[in-house]
Symmetry: C2
Subunit: 317 residues, 2 copies
């Protein structure tokens, strides 16, 4: 397993800006672990990873994931006092922006002659009343979280970028120990084309069907738990479309990767309920159906934060 | 070929809202073809199509395309007096939004206490001075284009949605004749998994490598030219990563699909230059390097609009 993992990293294309990312990361961790005798830090991963099929990439395999779960969970973690490292797929749903329409610049704002003026030396834009709350959240809450050092956003696209950044974050969080958490909501590819066996140029069409052989991505979760950040509290996710195999797979993952809990969700009902699978049993977490502004993540993060508190206490004994 | 195409459509999953889309489309075409004795209408396609690998789709193959070419071209067509049907991949680059940063809600706006006020009964938001022009364009020019009936935006994700909508648009534009244009900048998948042979549930990992066999997508360009909209002016695109085979492939496409021009672009230099391949010879179109705010699309659309004018004149003789 260790061999597979080191050969995956050795054969990965080099990532840009890794030094700059590490610098921002270390600064963020230092700020938060020294404030008030040590604030909890969670790394939330969000969105799907891509798998390039060509080195000069035109085509790639992707995992469907809007990033809604990760974005909603991030908001709840910030509210619970956590500092959040939000490792997200470029272009997916952002914290505090979930209720904006698809095309906010077409639907939320007005820039009419009447309002195209300066007030207190600032240029202003008017916001349609119906979108006021959503825009306020998108701008104000997001900027406040970043300014207060509660939110660090790091984007990725490929499986190579994702895994290299996850390793970087895990190693940087090692000293934070039990006060750190990994909340791995990203949809990580199970299969990939090893970089060295990949064709350089765009695959040519026009000569019949195309056969692709994909190798398995080595399971990084084991090595995250055993080597990268063994003292961190760790939550993984399992998504299936077939409810019959979901619980079995989630239970198997809990044992195999020795994580503290697995959040099991089925594609069609994932916005209504999830099951938190752990060694203390299974807990069904639901959205509060009678409240239209309620999300399953509100109750989920409450439960996860409680579990994390217990874990921290037990670690100090 | 016709058989392949009808079986592709017959086996496609049914699309939602097609009636509503058709209604909006017909209204848009009616408005524009009756204004000033008939305005020219172009369908600009933009972004990549996805190919689902499972019916309850978690994984899919995607084509890399930011949608920048389509968005920039749309702005230029509107400026040249065209009505534009912008058929774009969800989440890709939008007209008038190209110079916004990746995370505009974090970087462009301020919603401080000082400005969280009402002016003339409107809620306002202040715009950072450095982003003022970009935000003004994103909001004002886009809303103006839509309000004046110069821009209709229609989103797609899968190859099925794209081809069904393209057919719908082509058939709706049939009566506009030579005054209509197809500017096919979208990166359309060459390969797909036929819906009926697709697995229903998420492909299971954990049992060795995965082999995928992809069938060729039937070439719709031929049938668009011969049946759907035979009188429309038609521009297709060819993207390659290997410059050695690019011109040969573009010339071959021109002959095979009987389009009026093929825009040949190489992945690494596509923002600097393209070659317009047509029966009257090849023309290299470049960005004006001495102007930082100049794009290759400015000169490209000027050329295409000229060619379209000639085509319309010749059609009336």
């Amino acid at each position: 397993m260790e061999d597979e993992i080191s050969s995956f990293f050795e054969s990965s294309p080099p990532q840009k800006n890794m030094e700059e990312i590490l610098e921002n990361l270390n600064e963020f961790i230092k700020l938060n672990s020294s404030s008030q005798g040590g604030r909890r830090i969670v790394c939330v991963t969000s969105g799907g990873t891509t798998v390039p099929l060509e080195q000069r990439c035109v085509r790639y395999i992707d995992n469907f994931s809007s990033g809604n779960r990760g974005a909603a969970s991030t908001e709840n973690f910030v509210k619970a006092g956590y500092a959040v490292i939000f490792l997200y797929r470029r272009g997916t749903c952002q914290p505090y922006c979930r209720s904006l329409p698809d095309d906010p610049f077409l639907e939320c704002f007005e820039f009419s002659d009447k309002t195209n003026i300066q007030v207190h030396g600032l240029w202003i834009l008017s916001v349609s009343y119906s979108h006021l709350e959503a825009v306020k959240m998108a701008v104000m809450d997001q900027q406040t979280a970043v300014a207060e050092g509660s939110l660090l956003k790091l984007p990725f696209s490929t499986i190579y970028e994702y895994l290299q950044m996850l390793r970087l974050i895990a190693e940087a969080l090692k000293d934070v120990g039990p006060c750190s958490m990994f909340y791995l909501a990203a949809a990580v590819s199970d299969f990939y084309v090893p970089w060295k066996s990949m064709t350089e140029h765009k695959i040519e069409s026009g000569s019949g069907p195309l056969d692709i052989r994909l190798a398995q991505v080595p399971k990084m979760l084991s090595v995250l738990r055993s080597n990268w950040a063994p003292k961190a509290f760790c939550i993984s996710f399992k998504l299936e479309t077939d409810s019959k195999i979901l619980m079995e797979k989630a239970t198997k993952a809990l044992r195999k990767y020795k994580v503290h809990a697995v959040v099991a969700n089925e594609l069609s009902t994932r916005k209504e309920e999830v099951v938190v699978v752990s060694s203390s049993g299974n807990v069904v977490v639901r959205r509060e159906c009678d409240k239209p502004e309620s999300f399953v993540e509100d109750n989920l993060i409450r439960l996860i934060v409680d579990r994390h508190s217990t874990y921290i206490k037990e670690s100090h004994n």
